[in-house]
Chain length 411, copies 2
C-alpha cells in the first residue's frame, strides 16, 4: 500500500466528464490498496475569467492584491466541490478542503505567498477512515485569517507541500503530456519521454524553458525528498519519476535533456572599465525596475576594459535597453548593443559532473552545424548557450542526436 498525492491541473478538470475520469482513477488506485489525497486546480479557463473580472475594475494598480486572492480562490473551490460530489456519487467517501480548512498556513505575501506549514490532523483522520481528502490547490491562509494564493505553479506547490506533510510515498502531477521529455517533441521528433531524472536535472530543465513543472514545486520536493511523478491525465503510461540522485541508476547518462527558450533578449555594455563594483552599478537600476536578469556573463578584456552581457525576458527588453543607455553614460561605457532575436539553449545532466569534455562536445556539435555561440554560461550540471534564434531547431536536433538522447534510457 502506498500513500499517493495526486494533483490535477486545469485542463484535467475542465469538464464534468474529465472530473468523472479522475474519480475513476481514484477508485482504481484504491482497488490497488493505495491511499489517495487529491489536489486540484481551477477548471480550464476559470482563472482567466476571474482575472478578467478583476481587470474590469483595474484594481491591481491601486491597492494590494488581498482581495484578488479572495476572488481567485473561488476557482479551486468550485473544482473541489464538484470532484467531491462526483466521488460521493460513485460511492467513494470524500471531503473537500479549502486552504484554510486543511490549514495550509502561508505568509501574507498576497498573490505569491509561501507555504509555512500544512496541518495534517484532519487529513490523517480522513485517511484513517478511508476518506479521500480533495484539497484546493494554489490557496492558503495567512495567520490573520485572510485568503492567500501561491502564485505561479501554486497548485503543484500545494501538492508537494501536502505530500511532504503527510509523508506520502509519491506526489503525482497529472498533466496533458506523458512526462518529462529529453527535449521539446514539437521541435525534435526523436524526443523521448524519460522514465527517471533527478531533482537537480528537473530544476535545471525547468529553469531553462521546460514548462512541465514549476521550479518552485521541484525545489520543495527536493528539499523534502518527496518523489515526484509527472504523468498524463489522458492515458495510463507511467510518466517520469523525479527523485534524488541516489535513487536514479548509478551510471547516469552524460546528459538527460535539452531545454530552450525564445523568451529572452540579450543586452551588452561594451567598453566597461574593469573595476570592483561595476557589475552592481550596471544591474542595480535594472533590478530596481523589477526586471529579472537571467544569464550574466562578463569577459575579461584585453586591456582595462571589458564587455558585460546579460539576458532579460523579451518583454522587458525595451525598458532594460533604455535604462542601460543611461547607465552607459553614467559609467562612461563605450556603447550598448542588444539583440532580441536570440534563443537560449541548455543541456542538462548529472552525468556531466563526472565526465569531462561535455562542454567541448556540445560546442563541437554546434560548430559542425556552423552555429555561432554568442554567450556561454555553465553550472555544475548545465551548460547554456545563447545563439541566433533562427538556428534553434537545428541546434536542438543536432545536440539531441549527438548526445544519443533518442536511444539512451535514463532508468
Amino acid at each position: 500500500m502506498a500513500r499517493l498525492v495526486m494533483k490535477f491541473g486545469g485542463t484535467s478538470v475542465a469538464s464534468i466528464d474529465l472530473i468523472a475520469r479522475i474519480a475513476d482513477r481514484v477508485i482504481a488506485a484504491q482497488h490497488q490498496g493505495h491511499e489517495v489525497i487529491l489536489v486540484v486546480s481551477a477548471m480550464g479557463h476559470e482563472t482567466d475569467r476571474l482575472v478578467s473580472l478583476a481587470e474590469e475594475i483595474d484594481y491591481a494598480a491601486i491597492a494590494g492584491r488581498r482581495e484578488l486572492d479572495v476572488l481567485l480562490a473561488t476557482g479551486e473551490q468550485v473544482t473541489i466541490a464538484l470532484l467531491a460530489m462526483m466521488l460521493l456519487k460513485k460511492g467513494v467517501s470524500a471531503k473537500s478542503y479549502q486552504g484554510h480548512q486543511v490549514r495550509i498556513l502561508t505568509d501574507n505575501a498576497h498573490s505569491r505567498a509561501r507555504v509555512l506549514s500544512v496541518e495534517t490532523e484532519s487529513l490523517e483522520a480522513d485517511l484513517a477512515q478511508g476518506q479521500v481528502p480533495v484539497i484546493a490547490g494554489f490557496q492558503g491562509v495567512a495567520s490573520n485569517g485572510r485568503v492567500t494564493t501561491l502564485g505561479r505553479g501554486g497548485s503543484d506547490t500545494t501538492a508537494v507541500a501536502v505530500a511532504a506533510a503527510l509523508k506520502a510515498d509519491e506526489c503525482q502531477i497529472f498533466t496533458d503530456v506523458d512526462g518529462v521529455y529529453t527535449t521539446d517533441p514539437r521541435v525534435v521528433n526523436d524526443a523521448r519521454c524519460m522514465s527517471r531524472i533527478t531533482f537537480e536535472e528537473m530544476l535545471e530543465l525547468a529553469s531553462s524553458g521546460s514548462k512541465v513543472l514549476h521550479t518552485r514545486a521541484v525545489e520543495l520536493a527536493n528539499k523534502n525528498q518527496v518523489p515526484l511523478r509527472v504523468l498524463s491525465s489522458f492515458n495510463d503510461v507511467a510518466g517520469t519519476l523525479i527523485t534524488s540522485e541516489d535513487q536514479v541508476m548509478m551510471e547516469a547518462p552524460l546528459i538527460s535533456g535539452i531545454a530552450f527558450t525564445r523568451d529572452e533578449a540579450k543586452l551588452t555594455l561594451r567598453g566597461v572599465s574593469d573595476q570592483p563594483g561595476i557589475a552592481s552599478s550596471i544591474l542595480a537600476p535594472i533590478s530596481a525596475a523589477n526586471i529579472e536578469v537571467d544569464m550574466i556573463v562578463q569577459n575579461v578584456g584585453a586591456d582595462a576594459n571589458t564587455d558585460f552581457t546579460f539576458t532579460v525576458a523579451r518583454d522587458d527588453y525595451e525598458v532594460a535597453r533604455e535604462l542601460l543607455t543611461k547607465v552607459a553614460e553614467d559609467i562612461g561605457a563605450r556603447e550598448v548593443i542588444g539583440d532580441e532575436k536570440i534563443a537560449k539553449l541548455s543541456i542538462v545532466g548529472v552525468g556531466m559532473r563526472s565526465h569531462a569534455g561535455v562542454a567541448a562536445k556540445m560546442f563541437e556539435i554546434l560548430a559542425a552545424e556552423s552555429i555561432n555561440i554568442q554567450v556561454i554560461s555553465t553550472s555544475e550540471i548545465k551548460i547554456s548557450v545563447v545563439i541566433d534564434e533562427k538556428y534553434l531547431e537545428l541546434a536542438a536536433r543536432a545536440l539531441h542526436a549527438g548526445f544519443d538522447l533518442d536511444s539512451s534510457e535514463s532508468a
Copy 2:
C-alpha cells in the same frame, strides 16, 4: 450618524458597472456620516450556473448537500472580492468576509442552515477604523468547520442577522423594485409604494404572495427589532420602512395591502364524520409526503358530517389528490373534490384589529362584483379568501379602490 447594513441582491451586483454604483452609494452614505456594512449575493445568474454544474453530476439524489454548499458559496465570494476591490479602488477602506471569516455560525443542516450566532469582534474593529466590511450573504459555517448555506432568502437573512448582532440602526434591502406596494402594480395600476408598514403586516403580505422579502428575514428582523427598509438599487427613493407597530403612526389605516397568489390549488373532502382526531388523520399522509398545506378550513356541518378543505401548492395538487382519495376510503368520507383554477387573495392591516366590519366590507365589495367566495380564512391582521382564478384581477382592483389604498398614506 447611523449604522447601516446594506444588502444588495443578485440583480444589483450583476456587472462591474453596477458594483461601481454600489461603491458610490457607500461613499455617499459615508459622507453623510453613516457607518456602512455590506452584505451581497452572487452576481446575476451565477448561482444558476453553479447549480447546473452540480446537476451534471446528478449528485443531490445520492448524497447529502454538504459539497453543494461548498460549490454555491463561491458565488457570493466572487462578489465580495470584486466589491471590496471596487471600494479600495475608489479610496474606501474595505475588507471582504466569507461566512466563516465573520464567523456566522449555523447549524449543520446543509442547504437550509439556520443562523445560530454572528461574531462581531472583527466587524466592530473594522468599523472603529472606518473600514467597510463586505460580507458574503447566504453562507455560514457549521461548528465542524464545514461551509453551510442558508437556503431561500438566505442573503436577506444574513443581512438581518448581521444587523441584529451589530445593533444596526437600519437594515436596508436593495432590490429591483421601489419598495413594498399596496398590491401588485402589474395587476392594479393604482398600486402605491408604502412608506411604512409593520413587521406583522409584512409577514402576512410575504406569506400571501408578495415576493419582495422572504418571510424568514422579516421574522428575524421582527424578533430582533431591526428596522428593515426595502428600497431600489436603481434610484434614490426612500422605499418602505418596516418596523414594529409602535413606531408606525398611531392611526394606522384599516388595511395596508393586498396580496395574492395563483400558485395554489384547493382540495375538499366531503362528508367527513365530525369527530376528534379527524383533521390529523386527513393531513398526516399529506405532510408525510412533504407537501405543505396552506389554508385549512373545516365547516361545521348541519348533521354529524362536515366538509374539510385545504390548499396546497399547485405543483403538489396531483399527488395530494391521490393521497386524499385513499384517505377518503379509509375514513369513509363521501367524496374528494378539487380545483386547480383558484386564486388566494388576502387583505392585510394592523388597523383591522381595532376596527370592526373589515371582513364584512371586504365581502360586500366582492359581492358587488358578483365574485363568489369559496373559502374564507382569517388571522388577527389578515383576511384571506379563495376565489375563482379568473376573477383575481377584478377582485384586487375592486378591493384596492374600495379600501382607498390608492389615496391613503400609511406613514
